[in-house]
């Protein structure tokens, strides 16, 4: 799991360096983390599952063995979180 928050002060981390495993080139800079990477592991799994099920919450609820409104609430929580990141 990619760390997204500073373990010392809990501020949001940024990407300083990326490395090519093939030719060892390093690209340095100060890049923002993608919004989806800021979500927790479970939330990212949820988003992946949502996309794979073509956005069908009904299908997701039967796969996860959860009720439809529970799955919809999970999605709403993720939407609120993403909106929160975007307004920062």
């Amino acid at each position: 799991m990619l760390p997204t928050y500073c373990p010392g002060c809990h501020a949001q981390l940024k990407v300083k360096c990326l490395k090519c495993e093939s030719c060892q080139t390093e690209v340095s800079g100060n890049y923002e983390l993608p919004t989806l990477a800021l979500l927790s592991d479970n939330e990212q799994q949820f988003v992946l599952r949502f996309v794979k099920s073509s956005g069908s919450l009904k299908q997701m609820s039967s796969e996860l063995k959860l009720s439809y409104p529970t799955v919809r609430n999970m999605l709403n929580d993720i939407i609120s979180k993403i909106e929160g990141y975007e307004t920062k």
Partner: protein, 192 residues
């Protein structure tokens, strides 16, 4: 099943079951409650209450139960529309119907309750506390009502996806308003 999972299922089954599934299960338990309660001369004619009568009538018992349940779901849905658009009526109706399941316990207990005659109660209300079965009923009803309220609260929380103070205000207001409206409807529609 782990102990915590079992407890979760007892107080909030709605994370796993809602909508039509909850409605069908709820109706089955509700019908049993009404029928057994009728045999024990008990009416479930309110949002979270029951009453004993001398001679219960099945039609009144069933209709008053249905009116109170539908009133609760409709009032709750109207209250929810004021704070969110993101819910389905079937989830509210289903979860509220299933939330009444603990009343089945009271219906069964009512079969064994021998209430003193109304005249005796009017002459001396304290006579109720000399009846062992009435005291058992009273003691049983408190946890059952608390359980039902917890289920209704969690049902609303899951169905409407609201939290915090909004949830508390909608829940408390709904219970009070729905109780008043259902009593009025029952009085108007089912008066002898």
């Amino acid at each position: 099943m782990k102990r915590n999972e079992f407890l979760d299922l007892l107080i909030n089954p709605f994370t796993r079951i809602a909508g039509w599934q909850a409605l069908m299960s709820g109706i089955t338990v509700f019908a049993l409650t009404i029928y057994i309660g009728f045999n024990g001369n008990a009416y479930f004619d309110g949002i979270i209450d029951m009453h004993f009568v001398e001679n219960a009538v099945l039609k009144y018992s069933a209709l008053s139960g249905i009116i109170s349940l539908i009133t609760l779901a409709v009032v709750m849905s109207i209250a929810c529309t004021l704070v969110t658009k993101n819910f389905r009526f079937i989830d509210i109706l289903g979860t509220m119907t299933l939330a009444k399941a603990p009343f089945l316990i009271l219906a069964v207990v009512s079969l064994f309750v021998k209430m003193p005659a109304l005249e005796q109660i009017l002459q001396n209300p304290l006579i109720l506390f000399t009846s062992v079965s009435f005291i058992v009923m009273l003691v049983t009803s408190i946890p059952v009502i608390i359980w039902t309220i917890i289920l209704m609260y969690n049902g609303l929380k899951v169905s409407a996806g609201i939290k915090g103070i909004q949830l508390n205000v909608v829940f408390v207001t709904t219970l009070i308003v729905a109780e008043a409206i259902s009593k009025t409807f029952i009085f108007i529609l089912l008066k002898p």
